[in-house]
Symmetry: C2
Subunit: 365 residues, 2 copies
DNA sequence: TTGTATGCGTTATCAT
DNA sequence: ATGATAACGCATACAA
């Protein structure tokens, strides 16, 4: 492959001049510039970006560290990051599926020198240590961290308020016996949604008997298993809050298979608002999470830090999770039930948490 | 940040020795090695990988160029690539959403020097030129190329056979009037699936009147629009082959909304076998595409080329698309209808194309 | 306006 | 076994 030296030789100039022309950094005579451009084209010269970033100290690449790419949520986050990156002509260096601290560290280390900053999704337990070790080496933005790290920017979903709103919706509809299908233990999203569920019930003076809490893991099969449990319990709940849509969809399918009608016999509400939520039967009432937005904002936040204009305050950002009423709870508010257009419901006209409700959304409430 | 020089100084050795110790490349005395390790730990030294790759000429990073990350198919491909990459301690540099040739080239150029090879998904038209210009600069693997490029490895989906099998399934069930809901024009997958549909009908001496072909774009709303068209046509088809699952799901939902029963009144078959295909009502009969496998294999293929052990022959690989019979066509073969476990059906026991049917799968048949 | 020379942080080739 | 030192490919401060 041709190097800058080859181009210089072909254009009969020094490598410094070639660099100047290609980067448009300094004034070069029309004539020599032309010679350089044609020589570069002739040789099909592509600058070596690794060498480039060695001197300039910047790469135009953002690192992305994720626990796993599985599920629509993660892929939407990545997509959001990538979209925002493209707008600013950045690329993303991705590494995912990291189970423990050591794996995260080796991944982060092998990004050293090839990224300008890092977006780190440390939603599971035990990754706080990784954050501490990365922190300070490079600009860092956290997505869904378990705890706030002083001085580190972070973005997260308003899980608590969203879950609370979903359960409140069921309560308003008159449900007295509301079960929850939980997410995997140790997962911060699952925990926050559980907390929202409990909070809503407690506020309504409802019983918090453990028998109304069923264990799931965010995957469809656990929804099926839970459905069997729920149907087998002596006092069948009249409504179930599933901690994500995939489990909710499995529930509905299983209930249907058992001869139960949703929402007449049992109501189901989900969480996430995945793409197919509105296309299943009945259309799923759920809590919308803007995963794509989460990714976009995380990247823009990082870019803001890179340009040095990052304010110290308000380092934590909460993206609202808003209730989307469809038909799986039997309350088809006028105007929503027939809306099949994707992502078009006006969020402003809907009840639900917003980023401004910062107090109740605080962790460890 | 500490450099190799700082470590050398702290350990009272030369930078050469530090490099030797850290890379375990040459024999170093036990004593000095220990000193180097502790110094490196003390200073929390992370080697600059950009500088490293400048001399070693390899990065342990694979570039991934995609048209867009949208949809489950793309995200599964990426996930497959990433999974396989992780196994070999590689990372992936991603850039997506490239509309035209110029965008692809700038993206590829800014990867120069920071990747060992490139996986390029050039499924849309007009990207052949990009391939030619990248080809030769770096090891390259194509996913779903529109045409075969001599000497370039490529992987693709057996769209033709998969579609043909889906339509044959409908024919075997006795359907006489089978419509197709097409994918976006210019998309190679859509075109191949259409070709399979036409081929199956022609082989069965069926009429190929254009009125039985409805235009879609792989997105849900187009499924809804098509449903209205289909219901409005004077002779309603008894079955519809939708070119992907999202449109099939929208069809089923719309048909249900119009009072039609699937499969009793109208049969629907999809393509992709997305995660929720088995959870909708009725469970969707579809053609399974192993997007994840496609990604994994693409990466392994690239790694094989990198290690130099790539045979010249058999540069094109076709991944089979296999029919998965559920209930949306009314033919619930024993053993399949109640299978809710994810990705567990044995592919061997199912009809459908395989990679060995290389002849009929050939393009431009 | 252009060229020379130094440095970026490594690895690798020589010596010693 | 270890230490100088020359690349790697580029950007840039300084000279001319």
């Amino acid at each position: 492959m041709a190097t800058i030296r080859d181009v210089a030789e072909a254009a009969s100039v020094s490598i410094a001049t070639v660099s100047r022309v290609l980067n448009k950094k300094a004034r070069v005579s029309e004539e020599t510039a032309r010679r350089v451009w044609t020589a570069a084209a002739e040789l099909d010269y592509w600058p070596n970006e690794a060498a480039r970033s060695l001197t300039t100290n910047q790469t135009h690449v953002i690192g992305v560290l994720l626990p796993d790419l599985h599920g629509e949520f993660f892929s939407e986050v990545i997509r959001g990051i990538d979209q925002a990156a493209r707008e600013s002509r950045y690329q993303i260096l991705v590494s995912s599926s990291h189970a423990d601290h050591d794996e995260v560290m080796t991944a982060a280390k092998s990004m050293q020198g090839r990224i300008d900053g890092l977006i780190f999704m440390a939603s599971d337990n035990g990754l706080a240590e990784s954050v501490d070790r990365i922190q300070g080496r490079m600009p860092l933005v956290l997505i869904n961290p378990r705890r706030i790290v002083k001085g580190t920017a972070s973005l997260r979903i308003g899980n608590f308020l969203g879950a609370r709103e979903a359960v409140n919706h069921l309560l308003r509809l008159g449900h007295e016996d509301i079960a929850i299908l939980k997410g995997p233990a140790g997962n911060i999203d699952a925990e926050e949604r559980l907390r929202g569920y409990r909070h809503a019930l407690a506020a309504a003076d409802r019983d918090l008997g453990a028998s109304r809490e069923f264990q799931g893991d965010f995957l469809e099969p656990s929804g099926y298993r839970a459905a069997a449990e729920i149907l087998g319990s002596r006092r069948r709940p009249t409504a179930v809050f599933a901690c994500n849509d995939m489990m909710a969809i499995a529930l509905i399918s299983a209930f249907g298979g058992a001869g139960l009608k949703v929402p007449e016999d049992i109501a189901v509400v989900g969480f996430d608002d995945v793409a197919i939520a509105r296309y299943i039967h009945p259309p799923l009432t759920t809590v919308r999470v803007e995963a794509n937005q989460l990714g976009q904002r995380a990247l823009r936040r990082l870019l803001a830090i890179l340009s040095g204009g990052e304010a110290e305050g308000a380092v934590e950002e909460v993206l609202p999770a808003t209730l989307v009423v469809r038909e799986s709870c039997g309350a088809s508010l006028a105007g929503y039930s027939t809306d099949y257009s994707r992502r078009k419901e006006s969020p402003g006209s809907m009840p639900g948490g917003t980023a401004r409700d910062s107090d109740p959304e605080a962790r460890g409430d």
